[in-house]
């Protein structure tokens, strides 16, 4: 039997001032994150990510070496 899991709606917040542009999040979830050409600072690609991207967003946040990604359930 398959139990449907309720996936949270969420938002991604970046503290741009502290971002070091390592780009680990882009490798982990290229559909959610990209980096500015001008200085490598990370940008969130979508304001309303699909709920099924939640796990990858959390993984990307965990890999951020500057701890600037926050995943907020809404």
């Amino acid at each position: 039997m398959v139990i449907a899991q309720r996936l949270p709606n969420f938002r991604i917040r970046i503290d741009e001032s502290q971002c070091i542009g390592a780009g680990r999040c882009v490798i982990a979830a290229p559909d959610l994150f990209d980096q500015r050409e001008s200085d490598g600072v990370v940008m969130v690609m979508t304001q309303s990510p699909a709920p099924d991207a939640y796990d990858r967003a959390v993984k990307a946040a965990a890999q951020c070496p500057a701890r600037v990604i926050e995943i907020v359930a809404i």
Binding site: I20, G21, A22, G23, I27, E37, Q63, P65, A66
Partner: protein, 402 residues
């Protein structure tokens, strides 16, 4: 379980019992006193952070400074103090100065830029393996692959002339020794910065499609970055771009050869290479005695009081074997998700070149064992000489056959 008392503030650094494992005292410290007091060469007291959690906490805590030039900044040798005092690149600065300079370089190292370099790195690697095949076994993998690959990649990306790489490697090693004199260390550091000044002059006269030429164009010409500051940063990037990757290629190859079952997994499923590289970085952790910080105020952490002015070493080889994060931590397991390993540091000083290093290592470990599936050591392991006299660990030579 040992009942022996933990030594009280023993001299640091410690000696390894086995060449491919960090000193046993780290594991005991993690269990019994994870923020562990040690005594440095000059009698100064410092603390080791031996766990993954404390490593990450301190390196993101603004109450700790990474200014190399501070008089209380901890160092493993007198020579290292000489080098720290001479350091002018952002590796030895706190924010906001650090961020001001680093941001001029981050666009050059974005994930997409690094991924775009992959075909070129694959070609360079394939050519080196062709040359190895032509020469035939046995040969030294360090000389023919581990040194060559990062040199050729830095040449293509950064714009440093290939023929200068022996000199650059020598300067990097001169800085990382545990045994050289302060004068010698300071001189090699100065030599590389002087070399970088000449390289910048040459690039200004004859720009090319490389990082150094772009930075000159974007930041030096408009007056945002002085030539002296760029020479210091250039020196930092060159030595970091060579030494550490070279050491990881040698250590990683040896670790895989020592674990035929794990190597067989990797050969059977090349898609495992990304995981395998994280695992090799976790266990190899060539940067042994860093990152370092100094407390700017009294800080209580993990039941210890770190006083203002105390030095702290975040010990990467220990944090990477923290059993709270990595199950059965001393075991090489290429299927493991080791992506939270800390070989590139953590916080604002996290390695600028990690994306490049990761791709170089992924390419080299994928290709090496495809090209030479029967690769093996050409000497017994006891004949492999390890860099136990260096701050950046590795092997001096790795004779292989196939």
């Amino acid at each position: 379980m040992t009942t022996e008392q933990l030594p009280e503030a023993p001299p640091f650094p410690f000696t390894r019992e086995r060449p491919l494992d960090p000193p046993d005292l780290y594991a005991r410290a993690r269990r019994e006193r994870s923020i562990f007091p040690v005594t440095l060469w000059n009698g100064q007291r410092a603390w080791l952070l031996t766990t993954h959690a404390h490593f990450r906490a301190v390196l993101t805590d603004p109450r700790f400074s990474g200014e190399f030039a501070r008089p209380d900044f901890p160092a493993v040798t007198k020579a290292r103090v000489a080098i720290d005092k001479a350091e002018r690149a952002f590796v030895g600065m706190d924010n906001p100065r650090h961020g001001h300079f680093r941001r001029m370089f981050t666009k050059e190292f974005t994930a997409r830029r690094m991924l775009a370099l992959r075909p070129r790195i694959e070609q360079i690697t394939a050519d080196l393996l062709d040359t190895m095949a032509r020469r035939g076994p046995p040969l030294d993998l360090v000389e023919h692959l581990a040194v060559e690959l990062p040199s050729l990649v830095m040449c293509a990306l950064f714009g440093s002339p290939y023929e200068d790489h022996t000199f650059i490697m020598k300067c990097a090693a001169g800085r990382h020794g545990l045994t050289q004199s302060p004068e010698e260390a300071a001189r090699t550091a100065r030599d590389l910065v002087d070399y970088c000044r000449r390289l910048i002059d040459a690039k200004e006269r004859a720009p090319a499609d490389d990082m150094l030429s772009r930075v000159i164009d974007e930041h030096v010409k408009p007056g945002n970055l002085s030539r002296d500051d760029l020479a210091e940063i250039c020196s930092m990037i060159l030595r970091a771009g060579h030494d550490t990757t070279t050491n990881m290629i040698g250590l990683g190859t040896l670790m895989l050869l020592n674990h035929p079952d794990q190597l067989a997994r990797l050969k059977a499923d090349p898609n495992l290479v990304e995981r395998a590289v994280e695992e090799l970085l976790r266990l190899g952790a060539p940067v042994q005695f860093a990152p370092r910080r100094v407390a700017l105020e009294d800080v209580e952490i993990g039941g210890e009081l770190i006083r203002k002015g105390d030095g702290v070493f975040a010990v990467t080889p220990s944090a990477n074997r923290d059993e709270a994060v990595f199950k059965d931590p001393d075991r090489l397991d290429v299927d493991r998700d080791a992506s939270e390993q800390l070989a590139f540091g953590y916080g604002i000083h996290h390695c600028l070149g990690q994306g490049l290093a990761r791709i170089e290592l992924q390419v080299v470990f994928a290709q090496l064992f495809q090209r030479f599936p029967n690769l093996r050591l050409a000497v017994s392991e006891s004949e492999v000489s390890f860099k136990s006299d260096m701050q950046i660990y590795g092997v001096y030579r790795l004779p292989v056959a196939w």
